[in-house]
């Protein structure tokens, strides 16, 4: 049962450059999705549309069968999705614990400790933490929000290899153990290898890549670009 459904979504910058051309996709809880693609191809834009940070020029995005444009983007951002950004995007005058509490009534310390921060670190100014620690705080904030969908925009882009591996594991666990629908935009093949489903965004169209035995992904036929619901109907 898909929790997010993207139907014929199109988007252009300033009504000129069309970056998304009728994108279709379905995403389920309990899975880690990776979206690959060259810089500037519209990956972050697609993630923003899924997360209600912007509105598509055409098409619809459904959460749990409801058009998010109709239920309200602010409500969608508040209740359905949580973001993890490459630049962490933490509030700089709040401590890690307070950042986590921004959107959650859960006690922040257990989540932060589970993600590897000590109690002392949880009370420091966020800007005094390392990049990896800040990204863990951002993930903790996303997980604490209890949103069923986690959208991560190049979450390991600014991190060293070991930390990136840790973050990848956390995201994977979030999908598989916490039953989240985790969508990750990435350039990292390592992260993509861990994903259950890999999309490639190319020339404004989204392709699902088939997984091969060594973990690398190969493109499926273009027909797979059609949403599953429509394929079933055919």
């Amino acid at each position: 049962m898909s929790i997010m459904e993207i139907k014929q979504v199109g988007y252009s910058y300033d009504n000129k450059k069309k970056v998304l051309k009728g994108v279709n996709a379905e995403m389920e809880q309990g899975k880690l999705y990776a979206i690959l693609g060259p810089s500037g191809c519209g990956k972050t834009t697609l993630l923003s549309l899924i997360g209600g940070l912007d509105s598509p020029g055409s098409g619809q995005i459904y959460f749990d069968g409801q058009d998010i444009a109709k239920t309200g983007l602010s409500d969608h951002r508040k209740n359905h999705v949580a973001f993890i950004f490459q630049a962490y995007n933490l509030i700089d005058y709040l401590t890690p614990a307070e950042n986590v509490s921004l959107t959650s009534k859960l006690p922040p310390l257990p989540i932060l400790e589970r993600l590897g921060l000590t109690k002392e670190e949880a009370k420091r100014n966020v800007l005094k933490l390392s990049g990896g620690q800040q990204q863990r705080v951002a993930i903790a904030r996303a997980l604490a929000s209890e949103a069923p969908v986690i959208l991560a925009d190049e979450p390991t882009g600014n991190l060293d290899e070991d930390t990136a591996q840790d973050i990848t594991e956390i995201l994977k666990e979030s999908a598989h153990k916490m039953n989240k629908c985790v969508v990750v935009v990435t350039h990292s093949n390592e992260l993509a290898k861990q994903a259950d489903v890999v999309f490639r965004l190319k020339k404004g169209e989204l392709q699902v890549l088939e997984r091969v035995q060594d973990g690398a992904a190969q493109p499926q036929s273009r027909r797979n670009n059609t949403p599953r619901s429509e394929r079933r109907a055919k």
Binding site: D54, R77, K78, F85
Partner: protein, 417 residues
């Protein structure tokens, strides 16, 4: 975490920015409160001046042809007009004074004139030109008013004859057959003016009498003293000065008097006297304009400055705005947080400004020629500034937020990358 906690944490942890806005608000509010206090002191001074500059009009009979005096009915009718504070007339005679049958002598020692005094009959001696212009000043007792049978004389003369308030004297005209009229000493005066210095005292020494030989009696006493010499019918008053409480209203009051149909204006004419007010009021008006302009300029410049600083502050928080929106906090809640932060500062700055302005206003007031003790910052000033200032601050935050809030969260965040 609710927006109140966020607002408090921001204000506390970004204390340098908070301090900057606080200092600015404190300075601006202090200046505006001081300005309001100075403006009020200015207005008060202006109002006082309008009441004390002796603005008056005089109703005079065309006695040359008609011998028609200013009647008691006319005086009552005009005195009843709203804005007419008092009235007076001055009738003069040369009189002798007797203290227990002893003929009193004044300052002039020349033979034949040493026992003569210049007596003025008044409805109210307070409005006699000699007292109004400051040539004489009452040092003891009270002024004489209509029908009180009192007399005011020079304090040195009283000393010379061992007289004090409440003692009685007799006054008469110069001829032996003239009636003696008893009167009680109501007040004593000192001479302020130099009799030779006409410009400095604004007094016109039209008589040859030294001011120390002046005495003032009420009109009834004067009528009794002058009875043998009165040739006109009625009370014998040929002109009455009417004093107004507000010099600015003199013109309209005179107009109202002239519109009276019960007075035969062929027999009387009106002259207006407000030279002192006109002269002083123009300089007062200049100062009032200056003070008002300064307050307006200070307020406008301050508001522009505060809007600029708030605007810069909110623009510098674009990223934070984008993050808050991205994590699902609604736009109104974000704006409300910024408003609350500003009001938190104002809640501290405004009362402190009230206290500081109490000190500063007096000092600034002296620059505008006001006595420091007259420049008072009142709770009403504070309420006005707090309410208007609060509204302006909220408006400033809203205006500053518009440009950011019109963007979608993605646009804000992508601008920050």
């Amino acid at each position: 975490m609710n927006l109140g906690i966020r607002a408090f944490l921001y204000s506390a942890r970004k204390w340098k920015k908070t301090l900057l806005v606080f200092c600015l608000l404190l300075a601006i509010t202090t200046l505006v409160l001081s300005g309001l206090a100075i403006a009020d002191a200015q207005e008060e001074q202006s109002e006082e001046l309008r009441g004390v500059t002796g603005a008056s009009f005089t109703v005079t009979a065309n006695n040359g042809y008609t011998l028609q005096p200013v009647t008691d009915e006319m005086i009552e009718e005009i005195a009843a007009i709203d804005g007419v504070e008092s009235y007076n007339t001055s009738q003069y005679t040369i009189a002798n004074l007797y203290n227990q049958d002893t003929l009193m002598k004044g300052t002039d020692e020349r033979e034949g004139v040493s026992d003569l005094f210049y007596a003025t009959g008044c409805f109210d001696s307070e409005y006699s030109p000699m007292f109004l212009t400051g040539a004489l000043r009452l040092t003891e007792g009270r002024h004489v008013t209509e029908g009180d049978g009192g007399i005011i004389l020079y304090e040195g003369l009283a000393d010379k004859y061992g007289l004090s308030l409440g003692d009685t004297l007799e006054i008469k005209n110069g001829n032996p057959d003239d009636p003696l009229v008893e009167c009680e000493i109501a007040g004593l005066f000192e001479v302020i003016a130099d009799g030779d210095d006409e410009q400095a005292t604004m007094a016109k020494p039209s008589t040859l009498f030294d001011y120390k030989d002046y005495v003032f009696v009420d009109m009834d006493t004067m009528s009794a003293v002058s009875a043998p010499y009165t040739v006109s019918e009625g009370n014998g008053i040929d002109s009455v000065d009417f004093f107004v409480s507000d010099a600015a209203k003199l013109e309209s009051i005179v107009q109202e008097v002239q519109n009276s149909t019960s007075i035969d204006w062929n027999s009387y004419y009106i002259t207006v006297s407000n030279e002192v007010y006109e002269r002083i009021s123009s300089s007062i008006a200049d100062t009032t304009t200056l003070v008002t302009t300064l307050i307006v300029v200070i307020t406008v410049v301050s508001m522009v400055l505060i809007i600029l600083i708030l605007s810069m502050s909110i623009r510098s928080r674009k990223r934070e705005t984008g993050i808050l929106l991205a994590v699902g906090i609604a736009k109104p809640a974000v704006i409300l947080q910024y408003v609350l932060e500003t009001l938190l500062i104002a809640v501290v700055a405004f009362p402190l400004a009230y206290l500081s302005s109490k000190q500063v206003a007096g000092v600034l007031g002296t620059l505008f020629g006001k006595a420091a003790e007259n420049v008072i910052v009142t709770p009403q000033h504070f309420m006005l500034v707090a309410i208007v200032g609060g509204i302006l601050l909220v408006a400033a935050v809203l205006v500053s937020s518009i440009s950011t809030m019109r963007l979608k969260p993605k646009q804000i965040l992508s601008q920050m990358e």
